[in-house]
Amino acid sequence: MHSRNEHKIKHYGRRKYTYATALFVIFFWIFEGVSFAQGKGVLTDTVNRVETGYESAVATAKELIGRKGLAGDTDTAETDMLSSADGSDGSETGGEGPGDGMPEASDGDETMTDVVNGGGDGDLQEDEGPVIIDEDTIREDEGPDCALIRVNDTYFDDALFIGDSRMVGIYDYCGWNNATFLCDNGYSIRSYAKGNAVLCQNKHAKFTPEEIMESDDFGKVYIMIGTNDLPSNDTEAFREGYAKLIDAINEKEPDAVIYAVANLRMSLKGENSNTGRGFTNARMIAVNEVIESFADNEKIFYLDFNPLFCDEDGYVNGSYTFDGFHVHASEYSQMGDFFREHAVAYSVTDEQIYTPTEEQADEMTETQTDEQFATPTEELTDTMTDEQTDTQSNEQTDTPTDT
């Protein structure tokens, strides 16, 4: 008896790893049990709690050290895997977005003049007229305000791009080094509504949209967000969150034009592999409809480049994508061109945010006829579906007013 107990006692030290692991396992399941009891399901809430805990710990530590989050210094610790809310970051197999080529000359080769600078630079090589009105995007309820025209890359000097991994792809491949990209994998309206900061790609630090609009001035804000909201399947919450974002932009940047960009749809393969997780094309279309409802053609414009990539069945063509969610790097040039070709020249206060060159201005007045105000014919309305309405085209006033 006596010696057997002694024998056991001597073994405690020799089994410390086993005991430590056993302790960990027991605590782990107690933790999960507590989550479950609180109605949060086994395992589902653990990561959230850890991430939130980690983020607040990092934030507290930073405050103690006296650093603020708005500094533009490179802080790669921010981009590590643990500190991404909602599991968003490059460590998921969702991957990051691809994009398009190097900063190559945009087509048209116009040189852009700034409102501030006022003057043209000469060197105009125009191949097509500047005013592009897409006939198949004429909407019934459109009120002609601004024409959507083609611009070159300097238009994006004061542009803010907010989005998820597809926006990261645009950052990667459209070559707009001048613009500000507030986007990262996994970013969603849900994440925004919670007040989570997201990585600003060109500043290498995390900000919330409000913070970044406070620190910089933007003339245009592009929002392409919603894919990562699909699993939660809560259209109302999405609408509320999106409205909150729009309000925030209106408050911080009252003169900015907002482009509410429709989310790129999925390929059939992408949907099939991810239906179980809540990603379906039908939900994507529904989310895009919510986004579209915010457009007022005066300050908020709805852009939809899905027709560039989708087949008749409404799915993205499989040849454009590897995982069903992101197009190849080489396809991002199409997206870039789309943004360049659907830009607004005037802000909501009629402030000219893009000065057309003389020749462009001439063309504008020439082509200003009743055709621009064409009401949709019966034929057109019939063929109009959600897939085809992308941009609104509006009338341009005769004389641009300079401020």
Partner: protein, 439 residues
């Protein structure tokens, strides 16, 4: 399976506790049944094909034991197994783990000779669940002693568990924290498409793939070893710091060791090895490497990969290239350079893509290339510490670190946060937690 949170933190402890209480004979059957259940859950219906193959092979063993023409029957059995593997690969109906199990079966057929293997023991030798998926291919002579009842009254012993826990955590860390997270770098390159690559990105991707493949497989092998040890059936080591090798020949004595020795003992040596002159040696090496490539996959890139290795090994054996292993620094540069390129060949099944990728690595871009420097720096910023950490762990430093931590008293204090970190990543990638799938 090894990285599934319910397996690691629920099933494994329960199995261990259960097997501790019951004698070895019954314990073996508990292991077998539990293993079969785990396997069939993972492999689903196709797993039954594998189970059937194992049973058929047991029949062969009995036949060999009672037949007079033992070698003939063995030959038939081996051919049948090869046929099954080839059929599986060609038709694409591959039950999980079949490549490994078939090779295990062949090894047992040849080694067991005419010994009569008890059924339970045979099932464990072939379908022991830690090694059924990607596990080491063990030798009959290595595993037999551990299955004899009168040596171990119980399969599960405390000191084995103690040792196994540390090793399992290390393997888990490598797979779940390092490999799985590095995988998304390569994945995002695939998403972008080969035309979206710039030269630095291509190298970054290739290096990260090389690291990811290593830590994935090595981590898994460590977990298999640990699980085997915990259950009283130690399994062979599969990796020995391969990226510290001094030549490709040396590399293959350190990478996936059990496969290399399998090909050596069952293909190379029976064909004559290096004992029949230079020409014959080259031919034998050709056969070995062709088969090695095909074993990994039947698409063209795997054959190219096998031939790539074959050429290098022949050059190392018969030309002055072989002297590279005597250099101090050059050999490591040579090895990393060639192996990283070889893994790119291994990774890309589309030959077009492969060709574009390799050209991109050397600065030759396709005319419609859409490469961007933006992407490279962004990837670097996101992944640099994983890649750097991976490179450090790929050196002999990893082993030294492991022993240094775990031989000291504070090793226990390191274990808990390590487990917590692993648990965090395992939970995050659990399928039912869909909200963590991020686009």
């Amino acid at each position: 399976m090894f990285t599934d949170i319910y397996f690691v933190f629920l099933l494994l402890p329960i199995l261990l506790i259960l097997l501790r209480r019951i004698p070895a004979a019954a314990g073996k059957w508990v292991l077998i049944i539990a293993g079969a259940v785990i396997y069939l859950i993972c492999a689903k219906w196709m797993g039954l094909i594998l189970v059937l193959t194992v049973l058929v092979n047991y029949g062969f063993h009995q036949w060999i034991a009672f037949s007079k023409k033992k070698r003939g029957v063995t030959g038939v059995a081996v051919i049948v197994n090869i046929a099954i593997l080839a059929a599986a690969k060609i038709t694409g109906y591959m039950p999980l783990g079949i490549s490994f199990v078939i090779f295990q079966l062949i090894s047992l057929l040849v080694d067991a000779g005419d010994e009569i293997v008890p059924f339970a023991d045979y099932l464990i030798m072939t379908m022991f669940f830690p090694k059924i998926f990607m596990g080491p291919i063990v030798r009959y002579s290595d595993i037999k002693p551990h299955l004899r009842i009168w040596i171990d009254r119980r399969l599960v012993r405390w000191d084995n568990i103690e040792a196994g826990v540390k090793l399992y955590t290390a393997g888990l860390f490598l797979k779940v924290v390092i490999a799985d997270n590095l995988a998304s770098l390569w994945n995002s390159l695939m998403i972008a498409g080969v035309l979206g690559l710039s030269t630095p990105t291509a190298w970054l991707g290739a290096i990260s793939y090389s690291l990811e493949l290593y830590f994935d497989f090595w981590g898994y092998s460590l977990m298999a070893m640990a699980a085997g040890q915990m259950f009283g059936i130690p399994l062979a080591r599969n990796f020995n710091e391969p990226y510290s090798a001094t030549s490709i020949g040396d590399f293959w004595r350190r990478w996936h060791i059990t496969l290399g020795t399998w090909f050596r003992d069952y293909v190379y040596i029976p064909l004559g090895g290096s004992k029949k002159g230079a020409f014959r040696t080259v031919l034998n090496l050709f056969a070995v490497w062709l088969l090695t490539g095909l074993w990994h996959g039947i698409t063209l890139n795997f054959i190219i990969w096998g031939m790539f290795m074959f050429v290098l090994i022949v050059l190392e054996r018969f030309t002055p290239l072989g002297k590279i292993k005597n250099t101090k620094v050059l050999c490591h540069i040579y090895l990393v350079f060639t192996v990283v390129i070889s893994w790119v060949i291994f990774a890309l099944t589309d030959i077009n893509d492969l060709w574009l990728y390799i050209k991109c690595m050397f600065g030759i871009y396709a005319p419609d290339s859409a490469h961007s420097t933006q992407q490279f720096f962004r990837l670097l910023r996101t992944y640099w510490y994983l890649v750097a950490g991976g490179i450090v762990l790929a050196t002999p430093l990893a082993k030294k670190l492991y022993y240094w931590i775990f031989k000291r008293w504070y090793g226990v204090l390191v274990l808990m946060p390590l487990l917590a970190l692993c648990a965090f990543f395992m939970v995050r990638s659990t399928n039912n937690v869909f909200m963590y799938y991020a686009f």
